[in-house]
């Protein structure tokens, strides 16, 4: 069998854009090289979730003509023509005048999309170009030999819940490649492994969690088409960074969600419930009348920005997209960076293939390409945007407007340090959707006769956590993977949405997450 030239981990926009660009250029130059994408998801798009507004210009470059034709992906997008920003108090909403809203936060002319649909489409484009895509394979670790990334090792399969080998045991296969591109998303398992080996960034990466629902409205809904609403304030207190969004989607649907910075201080904050609270606000509730929730999900977003971006290349490997931290909080967007970043990576890889040299020396071109594409410039402009909000909204807001003039990096701590002892939100449970229903709508499922893919290395610490942080994981996990029983944490790994919040937010950094057997987890289709 042909050796793999380029192995891409993750079939999201970043990975698929890398694959598409690379194959396009290889085909144009009549060169043959194998480009292989693997992902743990069972089907394209299932593990992709995004707020969903993006700058479409990058697709004109990646797939020229993508807007044409009846079956085009363009038909599944909604152009934003109406963009509003509100500040919410519990019973009131204040529209922030267009003139005051910073230009970069403007979304008119952008497109609301389902990133899972986008991944399905990009996957088809890639396959038609000759990219090999294999889904349902979980990568466990990087193969590193002589200081070079040589590929990946897949998970062992066929272990029972006690870790004993079943009759169908399959030793984790090794997959060698000349260059490995890590596009495994926010807090990706492999990109985390790589980051630990490389020099640290100025700031640690910080994250937020987005919880999202897709709601089908009756025809002639009050929300209307081609509209985007962003909100600040309610239900968040000033010390919780984040906001809500509502976007028009095709077929009388709207996407609604809440994005919360994981550095929140409250031990008992449950973001799935926060979204339900958000939905009760008069401004929002009005639009949701007679709506039916058809899908739900959650994912984390790396939002540290410029100073949290790790080194992006090493011998035999590159980082692209969310796993590289390509998110601009000033614009609250990242998909177009994932795509452009993928294109930049592909161009560097092509040079490496031509030179048959996969060392840092050649792959460093990736960073040059990123600079030329403007990504790093935009990210640099937003370099201190997120950090200021650690002081709360009243200081963070004005600070964020002058941040680009601050000559030094504002430092920031890891999110788990943000949880403060004894701080409670004490939110009343909402009557509407609970987490069991939320999980059901995410479609997540796992074979239960396998070792738990989440683990708590030191259960003793949970006692302390209970005392200080209200058993934080039992609140922050949107899938309710963690439940507290007699002072102990009971696990329901089968509920897991693969969002990575637990590893990031456990106040004791006491949760580990390994990929479960391939082909499991959530089934996002329209998120």
């Amino acid at each position: 069998m042909k050796e793999i030239d380029v192995l891409i981990i993750g079939a999201g926009p970043a990975g698929l854009a890398t694959a598409i660009r690379l194959k396009q250029r290889l085909n144009a130059e009549k060169k043959d090289a194998s480009v292989v994408v693997i992902d743990k998801e069972p089907k394209l798009g299932f593990h992709n979730l995004s707020g969903g507004v993006f700058e479409a210009g990058c697709l004109d470059e990646l797939v020229p003509g993508w807007r044409e034709g009846e079956e085009s992906f363009f038909k599944q997008t909604v152009e934003i023509q109406n963009d509003e920003l509100y500040f919410l108090l519990p019973k009131a909403a204040f529209k922030i005048p267009h003139l005051v809203v910073p230009k970069l936060m403007n979304h008119i002319g952008d497109y609301a999309v389902s990133v899972s649909r986008m991944a399905i489409w990009l996957g088809t484009v890639a396959q038609n170009l000759g990219v090999e895509i294999y889904l349902g394979f979980s990568a466990k670790e990087l193969l590193i030999e002589d200081g070079r990334v040589k590929g990946v090792k897949l998970m062992d399969l066929g272990l029972d819940r006690d870790g004993k080998k079943k009759s169908n045991f399959l030793q984790g296969e090794t997959v060698h490649a000349k260059v490995t591109v890590l596009c495994d998303g926010s807090h990706g398992v492999l990109s985390e492994q790589l980051s630990k080996l490389l020099p640290p960034a100025k700031n640690p990466q910080v994250y937020s969690i987005g919880v999202k629902q897709l709601i089908k409205l009756p025809p002639e809904s009050a929300f209307g088409n081609n509209r985007a609403i962003h909100t600040l304030g309610f239900p968040n207190r000033f010390d919780v960074f984040g906001g809500g969004f509502m976007y028009s989607m095709p077929d009388n649907m709207i996407a609604i969600g809440l994005i919360l910075g994981l550095d929140w201080p409250y031990g008992d904050l449950n973001e799935q419930q926060e979204l339900e609270v958000f939905k009760t606000h008069p401004l929002i509730a009005r639009f949701l009348k007679d709506g039916k929730i058809v899908a739900a999900g959650a994912n984390t977003i790396p939002e540290g920005g410029y100073y949290s971006i790790p080194k992006l290349f090493t011998n035999g490997a590159l980082l692209v997209g969310d796993s590289a931290g390509f998110v601009n909080m000033e614009k609250i967007k990242g998909i177009h960076y994932a795509i452009r970043g993928g294109m930049s990576a592909a161009d560097a890889i092509l040079d490496a293939l031509t030179a048959n040299d996969f060392t840092e020396k050649i792959l460093a071109k990736y960073e040059i390409n990123l600079k030329e594409s403007g990504i790093l410039k935009e990210l640099y402009h937003a370099r201190n945007f997120r950090q200021g909000f650690k002081y709360g909204l009243p200081i963070g807001m004005p600070l964020s407007q002058i941040q680009s003039f601050i000559p030094f990096p504002i430092s920031i701590e890891e999110d788990y340090k943000g949880t403060k002892k004894g701080r409670r939100l004490n939110r009343k449970k909402q009557d509407s959707m609970d987490r069991a229903q939320f999980v059901a709508l995410s479609g997540s499922s796992h074979d239960e006769n396998q070792p738990s893919h989440v683990a708590i290395p030191d259960p003793e610490l949970c006692q302390q956590c209970g005392k200080f942080y209200a058993y934080s994981c039992t609140h922050f996990c949107p899938g309710e993977v963690y439940r507290q029983k007699d002072g102990k944490i009971v696990l329901s790994p089968s509920n897991c949405l693969h969002c990575q919040t637990c590893i990031i937010k456990c106040p004791f950094h006491n949760i580990t997450w390994t990929p479960p057997e391939g082909g499991e987890g959530p089934r996002f289709k329209y998120l």
Binding site: M1, V36, I38, P42, K43, E132, Y134, G136, F137, L154, L157, G158, R161, K166, S167, N168, L170, E173, V175, K216, I293, V294, A295, D431, A436, Q437, V439, A440, L441, G443, S445, H446, D447, E448, N449, R483, K485, V490, L491, S492, S494, E517, R523, K525, Y526
Partner: protein
């Protein structure tokens, strides 16, 4: 030895996304479901690969074969990644609309080509497949493939031994059987008996380089009249929501005593919704019926004991025969069975056809098929009913295939009605209603272009008549020649089934969820209640649990009810402290009587309940035990 594994791409009914439901019509949009490999086929592939290894024959191949649209190639690549050597996709628009008869014929023609061209005429091969697919769930195609190809089948295989010769262990109608094939080729259907092999990444990558054939109708030399819709003898004419059949309205009794009374009443009464419409008897008038002949029932017996479903079918045939003005026939096959023939008359038969032969003492598909088919071909009944028991599901498809009959599997409702649409006018036909897509939709099916309308009927959904000794009828002996050629397998051992804790076959399940709080309250409350029910009601009682209760360690995983545990279909399901996560509900909603006790009045479980009580289990259970015990005494 070579192996052909028949596989199928099916919609994933275990994971139905919300958007796939057409809530207004209550049906599923099939195109919104994900496509997956039929769950049992994982086992078939694994079984074949394990056999290939045991036979240790270097040149032995495992070939995956599927018939379907071009996208079904996906499951073939999957099969190769799990260990198959080659794959064949049989695809052609001409195949579309095929029922099991037309499908089996097409597959059989394809297998003949494989035998000729890939195996070079070598007939040492085994066809392996899952017994049924989750979408159609008929279990008809495998026996019909075997029938068309004239080979014997070994159904419900659980494992095999290989010591110079192959011994297949299978679940027979009356216990485990160890079977040695005396002649090849043979067809084996598997149960969920293996730990299915995983796809290997390198296998998956290499799959595209392995031999992959795509054949059309022309490639396999088919008779155009026998394939697709044209070659089919059944046709779906209506799809509707199961809720139309079964309107659920939860009744909340005021006291525990009343609750137990209602449970007892409903339990004894059996299912209600599936009975025909009362008071509306079909009248044929002076119209000319489309079908002619008697109405037959296959009588399933074991050492002179008749399966209850056979009496249920006799009662149904009797009822249907009235407007048709035809006689009811019972078909009795076995050895030393003349003693029970009279009983058939008392139960509603006008004629009893008896095939008594020492070689028919035990059920074997080919000889039994020969007996029944010969009768059917000779007498051409217009209707023939079988119980949808393991035996009926093995026998009926072969009988239908070898006579001129169309067959519908697993019916829950049978009615006589006219079908008039455009030019098609069918008078007094048998309307056959059955669940499909994992019970998520109901389909009504009619039989066309043949002599006999055959159906297998789910046991327990119809009511038997009390025997009437005064009835008269005719007993007609029928002789056939069972030759050595008919006996192609040898049963070398039989053992009775060991009764294991098995939720899947329980009549009553008492289930507890996380609401019970602790393992000790599960043990203290659920187990004694189960014991008490066991004493009061006939039938097997098991204890069950929700996934959360299992995770909390109340009971081991084999008691878990739900999508990721066991899917159950008991007569009575009682849930305590279970809120009703979707994955739990999808595993138990097919239960006949659902009783929910929960202190949270908003618990989703109540939406699925027939009987409910908003109360705490600690109060209710002791009262229930007491009430049950009182009734037992009286």
């Amino acid at each position: 030895m070579n192996f052909i594994v028949l596989i199928k791409q099916v919609p994933d009914v275990s994971n139905i996304p919300e958007e796939a439901w057409d809530r207004e019509k209550g049906t599923l949009r099939r195109n919104m479901l994900d496509n997956v490999l039929n769950p049992l086929d994982f086992h078939a592939i694994t079984f074949a690969c394990q056999l290939r290894e045991k036979f240790g024959d270097e040149s032995g191949k495992v070939i995956c074969l599927t018939m379907g649209p071009p996208m079904a190639k996906e499951v073939l690549l999957d099969g190769i990644a799990r260990g198959a050597d080659e794959a064949i996709l049989l695809t052609d628009r001409a195949f579309s609309g095929a029922d099991t008869i037309a499908t089996a014929y097409s597959l059989a023609q394809c297998i003949r080509k494989v035998e000729r061209e890939i195996f070079n005429g070598n007939r040492e091969y085994i066809i392996i497949t899952g017994m049924q697919s989750v979408d159609g769930d008929t279990a008809q195609v495998p026996p019909q493939v075997a029938e068309v190809l004239g080979m014997e089948q070994i159904a419900y295989a659980q494992s095999f031994d290989f010591d110079k010769r192959l011994v297949v262990k299978r679940i027979g109608p009356h216990g485990m059987e160890s079977i040695v094939p005396k002649r090849y080729p043979v067809l084996i259907t598997t149960t969920a008996c293996t730990e299915p092999l995983y796809r290997s990444f390198h296998g998956m990558r290499g799959a595209r380089e392995k031999t992959f054939h795509q054949w059309s109708a022309a490639d396999i030399q088919v008779d155009q009249d026998k394939i697709g819709l044209k070659g089919s003898r059944t046709q779906v004419y209506r799809i509707f929501s199961p809720s139309e059949e079964r309107k659920k309205e939860c009744c909340f009794p005021k006291s525990v005593d009343e609750l137990i009374d209602l449970i007892e009443q409903k339990y004894k009464q059996g299912p209600v919704a599936v009975q025909g419409k009362v008071g509306q008897v079909y009248a044929i008038g002076d119209k000319k019926p489309s079908y002619h002949g008697e109405l037959w029932v296959y009588i399933e017996q074991w050492k002179g004991h008749v399966a209850p479903v056979s009496y249920e079918l006799l009662a149904k045939a009797r009822e249907l025969a009235v407007p048709l003005k035809e006689k009811v026939g019972a078909v009795l096959v076995g050895h030393q069975i003349s003693g029970i023939a009279k009983e058939m008359i008392a139960r509603g038969a006008d004629k009893v056809y008896v095939v008594d032969d020492p070689q028919l003492e035990y059920f074997l598909p080919m000889p039994y098929k020969k007996a029944v088919s010969s009768l059917v071909i000779q007498h051409k009944p217009q209707i023939m009913l079988f119980g949808a028991t393991p035996l009926g599901r093995e026998l009926a498809p072969r009988v239908a295939s070898s006579s001129n009959a169309g067959l519908t599997a697993d019916c829950t409702k049978l009615e006589i009605e006219d079908f008039i649409k455009g030019k098609v006018e069918m008078i007094a036909i048998l309307k056959q209603t059955r669940p499909a897509l994992g019970g998520n939709i109901m389909a009504t099916i009619m039989t066309k272009d043949c002599d006999t309308q055959m159906a297998t009927v789910r046991p327990g959904v119809l009511k038997a008549n009390e025997p009437d000794p005064a009835r008269t009828g005719e007993i007609i002996p029928f002789n056939i020649q069972i030759t050595a050629d008919d006996i192609r397998t040898e049963v070398i051992a039989r053992e009775s089934l060991v009764e294991k804790a098995s939720l899947a076959h329980a009549d009553i399940i008492i289930s507890g969820g996380r609401g019970l709080g602790t393992k000790s309250s599960y043990d203290k409350f659920i187990r004694p209640l189960a014991a008490a029910f066991g004493e009061m009601f006939p039938g097997k009682v098991e204890i069950g649990a929700s996934r959360m209760a299992v995770e909390d360690g109340f009971v081991p995983h084999e008691h878990q009810v739900g999508q990721t545990g066991t899917t159950v279909q008991p007569k009575l399901y009682i849930a305590f402290g279970i809120s009703g996560a979707v994955q739990h509900i999808s595993g138990m909603q097919q239960a006949e009587i659902i009783v929910v006790i929960n202190k949270d009045p908003d618990a989703r479980m109540f939406n699925y309940a027939d009987l409910g009580m908003v109360s705490d289990f600690q109060t209710v259970i002791p009262q229930m035990i007491e009430a049950v015990k009182r009734r037992k005494k009286s």
